[in-house]
C-alpha cells in the first residue's frame, strides 16, 4: 500500500525489488497482487508507495535494489521522467512497468527500452521478467 518503504519477508540474498506507484492514485489491488507474487517468487520486495522521481532514486540507492518496478496509474509522462531520473543516477539498474497503461503509452515506454506488463499479463510473466532482469546484477 502507500506507506513508505514497507519490507516484505526478506529471504537471505534474495534479489531486491523496489515497487512504487508513480501517480497519486491509490488503487492498490494490482500492485498488491504483484508484490505477493514476487515475494513468493523469492524476491525481497520493498514497497515504496506513491513517491516522486527524486524519492524513487533515493530509495533505489538507499535500499540498494536490483530492480525497480513502476506501477503506472496515471500519465506515462510522469513515468518517463522517473525513468530518466533513475537512469541518470543508476544507469545500470533495470526497470520494468505495469499497470493500466494504454497501448499508445506502452509504445512510448518500449521506445525507452523498458519492459511493460499491462493488464492481462500473468504473474509468471512478471516474476519471470524479474528473474531475468536481476540475473546480471545479482550473479555471484
Amino acid at each position: 500500500m502507500n506507506s513508505a518503504l514497507t519490507e516484505v519477508t526478506p529471504p537471505a540474498h534474495a534479489p531486491r525489488i523496489l515497487l512504487v506507484k508513480t501517480a497519486l492514485d491509490g488503487h492498490w489491488r494490482g500492485i498488491s497482487v504483484v508484490a505477493r507474487a514476487l515475494r513468493d517468487g523469492g524476491f525481497h520486495v520493498i514497497l515504496g508507495g506513491m513517491i516522486t522521481g527524486a524519492e524513487i532514486v533515493r530509495a533505489a540507492i538507499d535500499e540498494d535494489v536490483d530492480l525497480v518496478g513502476l506501477n503506472i496509474g496515471g500519465h506515462v509522462g510522469v513515468a518517463e521522467r522517473c525513468i530518466a531520473e533513475l537512469r541518470a543516477a543508476r544507469p545500470e539498474l533495470p526497470i520494468f512497468c505495469g499497470g493500466v497503461i494504454a497501448p499508445w503509452a506502452v509504445k512510448r515506454l518500449k521506445a525507452l527500452e523498458v519492459e511493460v506488463y499491462p493488464p492481462g499479463s500473468t504473474l509468471e510473466d512478471i516474476v519471470g521478467a524479474a528473474r531475468r532482469l536481476t540475473q546480471t546484477t545479482t550473479a555471484v
Partner: protein, 557 residues
Amino acid sequence: MVDFLYGEYILNDMERTPATPPLFTTRSGIALKPSYGPEDVPSAHREVMGGRPGEAPYHRGCFPQGYRTKPWRIFQLSGFGKPEDENERIKFLLKNGETGFLMEHDRNTADHLYNVDHPEVVARREDVGMTGAVMQSVRDVAICLDGLPIENTYGHAGGAVVQHAPFALAAYWTVAKRRGIALQNLGGTGQSDFFLTYLGCVTKQQIPTAPGLRLNADIIEFCGEHLPKWVPVSIAGYNGGDTGLNAWQELGAVMANAIEYLDEIQRRGRMDLTSAAYRCGGVNFRTTMEIFEDAAKLRAARKMWHHLLSTRYGITDERALRMRIHIVTSGAAMTYQQPFNNIVRGTLMALSAVLGGTQSLGVSGYDEAISIPSEHAHQMSVRIQQVLAHETNLHAVADPLGGSYYIEAMTAELEQRGWEFCEQIQQHAGFLATLDSGWLHQRARENQVGWFQQEMDGTRPVVGVTAFKDDVGTFEVEGFEGVNDAYEVAQERLAAVRRERHERAATDALKTLAATCRNQDNIMPAMMAALDAEVTLGEIGAVYREAWGDWQTPEVV
C-alpha cells in the same frame, strides 16, 4: 484425464490440460446447485416471498410500479482536463440521453486537497486532468457547470473522497446560489465514501477516519436543514467490492458503515434520526459478471436496510426504510485485451443491476482497463442502458426474478452471510476501526489473490484474455489521451484567484474555517463562506492537516 465440460476447443485454446474442473460456485464462494426448489428457500425468507414490490421489507423493490413510474437514472462518471473540457463532455452525455450527471474532480488535487502548485502535484504534472477536471475554487466549478440546467437536473457534485466532499458540495451549492437557485429546491448528490477513501483508493495524505466521520455527519445535518432534496452522502460498497470484498462482504460492510453514520448522528443528538436515515439511504453497489448473485444482492440489500433501520433504530417511516440503489458496473471485470468484448460485459452487468431493481446506473466504459473513457466509449455506456430501457420490456414488470427458487434462496443466503460479516466487523470494534487496523483490507486482499489465481489458471476463464484469444478484428483501442493543457491553465487560474480576490476576506474566512475544525460547530456554513470568499482547495487542505493530522495507512501485503 481430459474433462470436456468446457468443450474441446477451449482446452486447446488455453494450451493446457485442464487440472481443474469448472467451478460451480460464485466468486463469493456460494455453491450452486444444478437446480433449485422450494426446499432451498429458508422458511424465514419464504414468509416474505409472497410480498409485492413496494411492500416491506422491500427486497422486491421499493415501488409498486417499478420502472413504469420511476425509470432508472442513466448516470455516468465523467470528467477530465480543464473544467470546460468536463463541461463539454457532460453536455455531450446529456445530449445523448444521460438523465443525471456526475462531476469528476482531478484526483491529484481534489482527493489530496492540494493546489496545482503543491510539490506532490508539480512532480506529477502530466497526470493533472487525467482523472477529472482541476477545480481549485468556485470559479472552476462555475466553468464546469456553465450552461448545465442544475435547477432541474440531478447532479453529482464530486467529493467522492471524504475530505474533499465539503469543498465539492459547497462549491456546487455556491454556484447554484449565485444563479439564484434556492438550495431547498436543489436536487443532487454527494458521496464522501469511506470505502473509496480508506479502502479502495487510499490517497497519499488524508485526514483520519474520526474527523472524516464528523465531516459526513456535518454534511448530513446541513442537508437536513437546508437541502432537503439533496442526498448528502452515499455509502459506496462498490469501492469495497472492486477492491476485493465479495458480495456478502460488500453487504455486511455497507450495513456496518451505515451504523457508524447513524450512531454518530444519534450521539450528537442534533437531528431527527428518521430524517438522517432517509438521507443515508442512497447507496452505491457494484454488479459484476455474477449476474444472478448480484441481482439477488440488491434484493438482499433492501431487505437488510429495512431490518437495520427498523430493529436497531426503531424507524417506521416508509420513505426512510426504502433503500435507493445506484449501481456502477464493475470496472475490474473489464479487460484490456479485446476491449469490444467489454460492451457485452457492460450489458450483462447492467442487466443484473436492472433485474435487481437499481434506481440509477453507470456502465463502465469498454475502454475501462485502458484509460478514462473516450467520447465513443461513454456514448456506448449510455446506449447500452437505452437499449435495455427501450427495446426489451425490462421496465414493464417489477422484480421479474421474484419467486424464482434460485434467486430467493440466493437472496436469503446473501442476507444471512451479510449479517454475519457485519457482526464480525462489529466484533472488531466497528467499520472505522476495521479500516484503521487494516482488517477490512486483509479481507479484500485474500479475495484479490484468489480471484486472480482462478482467472489466470483457467478455473474462471476470461474470454479474450485466458481463453479464446484469437482476434480477427482489426480494431485496436489506443486509449483516450485527454488534453495537454490542464496543468498550465490550472496554474494560471490559481494565480488569477490569488491576485483578484479580496485577500482580507479570504484570510478571515479561512481563520473561521480553522476555528470550526477545532470546535463542535457544523463545518458547512464556514465552508460556504470560505468558498464565497474564494478560498482555494489547497488552503482548505492545509487547515485540515493542521487541525487533524494524517491518517496512518494500515500496512497490508
